[in-house]
Symmetry: C2
Amino acid sequence: MFAECPEAPDTPFLLIDKSKYLRNIERLYSRVAALGSNVRPHLKTLRSTDAARYLLRDARSPATISTLAEAEAFAAAGYSNLLYAVGIAPHKLPRVARLMQQGVEMHILLDSEQQALAVAEYGQQNGVAFSVFIEIDCDGHRGGIPPHSEALPELARIIEDGGSRLTGLLAHAGESYQCRTDDEIRAAAKAECGAIRIAGYRLRALGFACPILSVGATPTAHFAEDLTDITEVRAGVFTTFDLVMKNIGVCRIEDIAISVVSTVIGHNRDKGWVFIDAGWMALSRDRGTANQSQDYGYGMVCSPNGDPLEGLIINTTNQEHGIIELTQQASFTVDDFPVGSRVRILPNHACATAAMHQHYHVVDESGSAPEIWPRIMGW
Amino acid sequence: MFAECPEAPDTPFLLIDKSKYLRNIERLYSRVAALGSNVRPHLKTLRSTDAARYLLRDARSPATISTLAEAEAFAAAGYSNLLYAVGIAPHKLPRVARLMQQGVEMHILLDSEQQALAVAEYGQQNGVAFSVFIEIDCDGHRGGIPPHSEALPELARIIEDGGSRLTGLLAHAGESYQCRTDDEIRAAAKAECGAIRIAGYRLRALGFACPILSVGATPTAHFAEDLTDITEVRAGVFTTFDLVMKNIGVCRIEDIAISVVSTVIGHNRDKGWVFIDAGWMALSRDRGTANQSQDYGYGMVCSPNGDPLEGLIINTTNQEHGIIELTQQASFTVDDFPVGSRVRILPNHACATAAMHQHYHVVDESGSAPEIWPRIMGW
């Protein structure tokens, strides 16, 4: 396809395989539905309203976002149920309040008395009733309070006494990215759900409605076996997957729906190097597979059709240069990659690679004209 | 300053200290002038026409760029002497030709017969006389041909027989980033200049005018002692510097003109962690100091005024979270960083961190209103 239009799109560019993208969505959505829960997709991977259309059935479908820039852009596109899943900084409350005034159901996240007091103070001074989630720590990964914490009812009280609403609890099993077996992921999912149930039952016993119990990380979402009382499951990178997820065992190489298309621009024949025009600016600096079972360097090199080429490794990237090394395992020589030929690179970490691009080229199996999906930029 | 305007700019954002930026420029420009040469600045670090105003005296001042997107944007801003210092892919020649038709003096780079033949063919078929640089390998870092290579006069002949012009030779001492002492950098600079002189004298003896001999990398540019016959010196990151350059010994911490301003959004008191709203999306995934004499994690944590805070290290970043760890060496507790307070992070690698931002906030010592410098995005 791209051989026929060598100029447009110019390389490097980010390619989304829409057929795989839709299959990945269907896989998780049907899985979670069969377990009696719902998906609140995290939109941070592609940050695209075009991409979100296939994740959100209607304007009020629940979604997760990681910046207020996303909130503002998705709100402008008509989506109105947005969980900002990063601990709230008090100075960001006016931006949240503005979105609420526009009719957006915004949910904010906190895990400390400082934040809860700031929300209460701003809410009372400005007549705003925020919708608040408390973060529960299920695995020591990052933030949140433990489910048995004495601080939990304290926070709930500060929130509701301040005129805001405790809408839910949120846990994220970030440590599940370190899992090495399916059983480990199942255990992480069980712990994630277990923590949020304990916290939720405690608060409900104290009279807080706290209607939403939210869990999620892409690994646990694909391995949870019991979602009893879990209102919703959050996951982000599952739409495209990547090599980190392949290594964890959540997807296969052939499920990865994202790649960077690049052109060969030179060689170092003595060293067996092929230079391409995708450096870290197009691939990102993410080396997420470095400490996993298989290290893919800066990504897996594939043919223009997406077939993996064994024995090729991108060990070095500069800003606009990638260096593909042909190892002993390669059944190719540098002459198999003449100047002007193209390769596709599957990324270590889809979120990081997508972040380097301002738009994506989207193709599907039907062979219809590519779509362009712009990315929401900034904060 | 930012305490007075807690909402604008919202965090995270990239801050440029213009006073330091101008001093860094003056330092290199006066150094190179004293050695009888000129600077052809590489504009890839900030990719900003506003930033370029202080580097380019007039519209015809020589500049280096790393993408054709930069070429098009700098041309639109009136700059007309642009060296695209990445090996040319044949399919990009039409974009180059279009810029030439607009009056831009574009220079392209190549190091292979395949590229030279493609340039000759396109040039003859379309009546375009390109201005071409040949890349000379001075240290085995990446591309280029050795200065004694038999291919050198061959390439020159293909270029000029094809109706294009061999404008110059280019060497880049990329291995100087691995230097550990000043003497090693001086030796790298000597080798860089030596390689390009050998190649240039050879071609001139054969009757090629080859008027430009171009060398450069930020370390060698600051340590070269003899620039005899060197027409121009290229350097990019010297305008802002960064922690990698500090470790190499090219600048001091206090010369670093770039930082990311971030807000504290939470704590994990048991672990001595402070969470900030700058993750890898704002800082980049670049870990360029990981294998240097001092590893700065994801950047050096400073006070809002830019004073380094010893004993704090960002060992972990997620997309929109940074985790600052307070080590035994820290003379602070997490309570010294309340929710809502701000820190500044000096980056490992200025090019990679700037790449994550769509614009920069620029302040100077005078205390005048900040400027906003937009970044040129994409390819």
